[in-house]
């Protein structure tokens, strides 16, 4: 108990330290000063009266939301003897694998003899992943007895059964401005009209004048400095989003967000809990001098092919560039960075791949074995879906329903579950293919799939 109390005190101290530099702190201070004019604030009970005032005027809610948002990304308290790299990534061989050749635990015995733990897939790292009973418990709100947007809002179902009530609750959550309640609410899906505000509430984004000014500064940086990664971004947008039926209209928005994103040094803050490190360099002529060391690109993230697909679906929700930018940045530093860095985190891409392969091997062993025999390891097909969080593969409305659940559960594991569910859905066709190319062809078009029924069937309705 002592340990938990001291851990809690440490977490509180760290969050307070972090929030002290923020806008909210200055606003709260100003509000406290202004409230002194009010008649109900008495000098004898100054502290309690001001606290009461904050509660009534809604400032306490804002503070609650800010603390909740810090907790969502907060890494676990570290042991005093642990070096800072340990906080980013506890496993030594994962830290060393940041420039990846292959990923192997040197202490892991993986002999040829088939033991109880033989894993037939590509990922041979023994990370802890959930199995279906644990997933059922984790995703309990997706169960058969709970209403879901994506299933219970279809035209055949009368809206009085679920949809109307759900929308009413959503409006109430928005009026209360409570992040934690919104996160719980969105697990059953978000109505289209409320989605933009709900996501902003969960990510704790409120468009303050300072944020708009910050975005304008980034735009000025874009004009002043040219970066090589700009060419990467142009190329990526042209190759992916511009070719997509749904997203080509947003080409302009994508440039506005991604070019500014590359120059945003506040993104460097997420490397405290990201296992990767930003590439470092020195100003020309000052090699080795630490004062002239800079990160390249300024935000430490080198974009790769398909990076713009993280932004494209958000363009449907937000039309104002500065808000779109803030939402994307927050989504990136909370979720998307895990999809392209090597770490042992349960939402990291390595764990997602292992979860996918384990689910397939355990619950569809015949299919798994057959695909392996024909040289079509299932991960080779599903990897690209998971790395892009299914963006560009699913229809947009289905994709947004999926991303609702990512926000609601604060975890990316649902991507691996969906990938396994897609394989389960097309299992009959896949059993008949005889080559990797044919398997790819069966799974090439996911745009007709409905996400929520697939997940429900795979998790809750399959007889194992």
């Amino acid at each position: 108990m002592l340990q938990e109390e001291s851990d809690l005190a440490l977490i509180i101290a760290q969050i307070v330290q972090k929030l002290k530099g923020s806008n909210l702190y200055a606003q709260l201070e100003r509000q406290a000063w202004a409230s002194l004019q009010r008649p109900e604030i008495k000098l004898e009970s100054l502290k309690e009266d001001i606290k009461e005032f904050f509660k009534i005027s809604g400032w306490e809610k804002k503070l609650q939301n800010a603390v909740y948002s810090e907790l969502s990304v907060f890494p676990l308290p570290s042991h005093p003897a642990a070096p800072p790299e340990h906080l980013k990534e506890p496993l030594v061989y994962m830290r060393k694998a940041q420039v990846l050749i292959n990923l192997r635990n040197p202490n892991y015995e993986n002999g040829d003899s088939h033991s109880f733990r033989t894993h037939l897939g590509l990922i041979q790292v023994p990370l802890k992943v959930k199995d279906i009973p644990e997933l059922k418990e984790f995703f309990v709100e997706l169960g058969l007895t709970a209403g879901q947007l994506g299933i219970d809002d279809s035209t055949q179902v009368p809206p009085e059964l679920f949809e109307n009530e759900h929308v009413r609750i959503g409006q109430k959550v928005l009026s209360e401005q409570d992040s934690a309640a919104a996160q719980q609410y969105i697990r059953q899906g978000s109505p289209t009209a409320l989605r933009a505000e709900l996501w902003a509430l969960i990510l704790n984004i409120s468009s303050q004048p300072e944020d708009i000014l910050y975005y304008e500064q980034l735009k000025t940086n874009v004009i002043q400095h040219d970066l090589l990664v700009d060419s990467l971004i142009y190329k990526d947008v042209k190759l992916t989003a511009s070719n997509d039926d749904y997203y080509f209209v947003f080409e302009d928005y994508l440039y506005q967000v991604l070019l500014c994103f590359s120059r945003d040094t506040s993104v460097l803050g997420h490397f405290a809990y990201n296992s990767a490190s930003p590439p470092k360099s020195y100003i020309r002529g000052k090699l080795g001098l630490e004062e002239y060391a800079v990160f390249y690109p300024p935000n430490g993230v080198i974009p790769f092919h398909g990076f713009s697909m993280y932004v494209a679906p958000l363009c449907f929700l937000y039309h104002e560039p500065s808000k779109l930018y803030q939402i994307f940045r927050e989504m990136y530093v909370r979720f998307f960075f895990r999809l392209h860095s090597i770490s042992s985190h349960p939402s990291g891409i390595v764990s997602l791949c292992l979860l996918f392969e384990t689910l397939l091997q355990t619950y569809l062993p015949q299919l798994f074995y057959h695909l392996r025999e024909i040289g079509a390891q299932p991960l080779r097909i599903s990897f690209k879906w998971m790395v892009r969080a299914f963006s560009g593969y699913l229809a947009t409305d289905q994709l947004l329903l999926l991303w609702d659940r990512i926000l609601g559960y604060n975890s990316l594991e649902i991507l691996a579950v969906l990938a396994a569910a897609v394989f389960a859905f097309r299992a009959v066709n896949l059993m008949e293919v005889t080559s990797l190319a044919a398997a790819e062809a069966v799974l090439a078009d996911l745009s007709t799939l409905k996400v929520m029924p697939l997940l429900q069937i795979f998790l809750f309705a399959t007889v194992t």
Binding site: L2, Q3, P126, I283, R284, K286, V294
Partner: protein, 216 residues
């Protein structure tokens, strides 16, 4: 919170295994690590001497929640006095018994073992568990009999000295100290409200011309 590191000597790990270690195929699942304290005075023969005996202080303490997976495999762990089943006042030797039932790992041990004393009779143990943890550890400690003479400072903490009487004409030190404390609290407040938010510039002296790119 003053923490005094106790110098300790960690002997090499000894695997407990049935049969000949060299010829048998299986890997041992139990390891024993002995830790001695060279700074503890050797016990003296006295007429009231009773022999030292082993006492279990921690039973079946789980370090890895799932022995077959990486969870907690390379974690830093602390053990504290309040978790121990017995009094840690007079310790001669420590024995850590580690168990790893999973056959998936080539080796297992604990590394960077450090023992700390906080105050005269406190004993805390910190260590890092190395690649592949034991699934559970059973820790037994040896206690020495009461006849062992400990250095006086362990059992009798030094009492605080009373301040010498003041000379006339000088200000009251307690009042001065409280005023100084208030000033110090003000400076600390100013210093504490220094924010950690970045300024957000990435060009140095107006230029961003790079030399080379390296991954740390």
């Amino acid at each position: 919170m003053s923490r005094v590191s106790v110098p300790c000597h960690v002997k090499g790990t000894v695997a407990l295994q049935v049969g000949d270690v060299r010829t048998s195929q299986g890997r041992p699942g139990v390891l024993v690590i002995d830790v001695t304290f060279p700074s503890v005075a050797p016990f003296e023969h006295t007429s009231t001497h009773t022999p030292a005996k082993w006492v279990t202080c921690l039973r079946d303490y789980c370090l890895m929640p799932d022995p077959h997976s990486e969870e907690g495999a390379q974690e830093y762990v602390s053990l504290f006095k309040h978790q121990m089943l017995c009094d840690m006042g007079k310790v001669l030797e420590l024995r850590l018994i580690l168990r790893q039932p999973s056959p998936l790992w080539l080796s297992f041990t604990v590394e960077e073992l450090q023992i700390y004393k906080q105050g005269p009779k406190d004993l805390g143990i910190w260590f890092q568990v190395s690649p592949t943890l034991p699934a559970s550890g059973q820790y037994a400690f040896a206690l020495q009999s009461p006849s062992m003479t400990f250095p006086k400072w362990l059992s009798h903490p030094v009492p605080c000295e009373q301040p010498a009487p003041l000379l006339e004409g000088l200000p009251d030190p307690s009042r001065v100290s409280s005023e100084v404390q208030q000033m110090w609290a003000l400076t600390e407040m100013i210093r504490a409200s220094h924010t950690s938010t970045r300024i957000g510039r990435f060009d140095v002296d107006g230029c961003y011309d790079l030399n080379l790119l390296s991954y740390t």
